[in-house]
Subunit: 144 residues, 2 copies
Amino acid sequence: MLRGSTTADAAIRGSGLRVTDSRRAVYDALCANPHASADDVYARVVPTVPGTSLQSVYNALNDFVDAGLVRRIEPAGRAGLFELRVADNHHHIVCRSCGAIEDVDCAHGAAPCLQPSDTHGFIVEEAEVTYWGLCPACAAEAAA
Amino acid sequence: MLRGSTTADAAIRGSGLRVTDSRRAVYDALCANPHASADDVYARVVPTVPGTSLQSVYNALNDFVDAGLVRRIEPAGRAGLFELRVADNHHHIVCRSCGAIEDVDCAHGAAPCLQPSDTHGFIVEEAEVTYWGLCPACAAEAAA
DNA sequence: ACCTTGTTTTGGATGACTCAAAACAGCGCT
DNA sequence: AGCGCTGTTTTGAGTCATCCAAAACAAGGT
């Protein structure tokens, strides 16, 4: 029967997309790994959807992003990452050593959480913050 | 004689790097275009340093970055950009429509200009902010 | 002027991602 | 339950930014 989570079904269908095994598996993979690259997702999807392709994963991810179901982030120097948390203006903290990523809620509540000092006439729609540092494990290792 | 700017010479030599025509030209290109991709730099360098290669531009840019002379930024979905402003914790505002970029000084003065609400145990070294929006030209066009 | 060592050139390789056409499968309809 | 329209997946190739490595070359101290 290969039933996946019904929440995935609802989310996918609710976005006006057809529900397929492939998409369900991609959605579930993102639930299991909240900051996954396309390769990460593929690795999780392959065992349950044999014969699937990396391209299908990209298709599904891009469709989800277009539908507003998934958010794509791209820390400098890394492959794109996908996450299900969406539309809540949260940010990210990235470990410079091992690449670990955690969510950081916006310190100031509602979006946009910051205003630039000088907009140069730009209309600012969003402020994206990336904190760079060391995760606990790498910090401990560096101290030794 | 092909003399380039003496400020370039001083900066390059001051970083412990040898002064070459190629590097001088790359430095000058960054002066002329404060947010240039490797291709942009190459386009500006070729006319004055015939026979140079894109790889040489990459070499020079990477050497500059390693030496702390140049900063590399990478707005999501775009090629890396290089700038001479360094070590002053400024941020960027990027036009979603045409890709125009401007510097934005840190609203809160000294680095790091923000602290996350929850660090998840990470040691935060830097906060990088990217403002996304519409430049004046694209905003005017969108309004019409 | 010379020699050491850093730099440039050349050519190839990689990773992340996209494009496009043909095969396939949801799901609304009857 | 079956049909068919239309969206989805597969396959295979292609692109772009960037890097790697070996050989030719040149900056600058002696």
